[in-house]
Symmetry: C2
Subunit: 197 residues, 2 copies
């Protein structure tokens, strides 16, 4: 029962991600902040819907697993806005690495290794699966902001170039999605939701 | 771009599941109600952690997909407490069937068929994958309630026999988990969190 108890402790620990709030606002729920657990659900499904646009072979099962676990480190490290200062982002990386060790470390050794490696692969965008997963994580806030008068972009005075840079993984990997995203970004500039820089 | 626009409409529609609230309370976030989107994330990961306890071969990728989509119908039909009256539950089934048609129907035909079939397979517990997925959906509230002084059980005066019946899929499918669950249920009775019936 020892392994099972470790696994159940991990599963219960996951509850805490529901209390980690992001910058995205949910138009569908009185414009409250989105939490990282429901966001992880949403991008896993987004990946499943859109993976056929990838021009290279994507293992959707691995991508879904990556997306389900990618934000778990935020239980200890908190969420950091995508467009924060570079020094803050570097400090955040250290916090997340320690968090991965502690939280995935609740699991039995074999699962700990599997999850830790999958998380590192995602973080470092080391494979096609990881790059596609990252692209999904980044495209969803764009879709949400476009339907919410610019959402977090407008509140934080974000520039077009920042959003283009952030969505760069789509360019080679899923050109049709990249085309769509580029057009949406132009539209956002026209609407005054992104700075034209 | 037509297919892509259909897919994006579906993806945006999913946001609404974050505003569908369940009976479970989240101890980790000031005891607020849990929503169905974050719940879906949690059970998908729970399935991934626990699927090796299944004594029959489970396709974990299919199970995760089922669990990610299984509550989407609640966007139209709302969440119904697991231990509601039988007549209410029957009425709920009709609402959910219509919801599946409308919401999955936002997708291009091929994906609509895939998702609709996967959802029906889950609903009717038609396969080992579906029964394992259902078992995961049902075991998590038990884990949560056991760590929250009985949680939704206590508030709704639920009996031991109801929780045993609800977790029945574990019995043949994952005996080690069933053993754990049975002991937890006995403990809950002893604590006064479940009626001894």
């Amino acid at each position: 029962m020892d392994e099972l108890n470790q696994q159940l402790d991990f599963i219960i620990e996951l509850d805490k991600l529901k209390g980690v709030y992001r910058q995205a606002l949910l138009k569908s729920d009185k414009n409250r902040y989105e939490n990282s657990a429901e966001h992880s659900w949403h991008i896993s499904l987004t990946a499943q819907i859109l993976h056929e646009y990838a021009v290279e072979k994507v293992n959707i099962s691995r991508v879904m697993s990556m997306l389900l676990i990618h934000d778990i480190v935020e239980i200890d490290a908190g969420d950091m806005f995508a467009f924060s200062d570079v020094t803050d982002l570097a400090e955040q990386e250290d916090k997340e690495l320690a968090a991965a060790r502690r939280i995935f470390g609740l699991l039995p050794e074999k699962q700990f290794q599997t999850f830790q490696l999958l998380w590192i692969e995602f973080e470092n965008a080391e494979s096609i699966d990881a790059r596609f997963a990252k692209a999904m994580d980044r495209v969803l806030p764009l879709l949400q902001n476009m339907r919410n008068e610019g959402g977090s972009w407008t509140r934080h005075d974000i520039a077009k170039s920042q959003v283009l840079e952030r969505n760069k993984y789509l360019k080679g990997l899923a050109p049709q999605l990249w085309l769509y995203v580029s057009k949406q970004i132009d539209l956002a500039v026209k609407q005054g939701w992104l700075r034209d820089e």
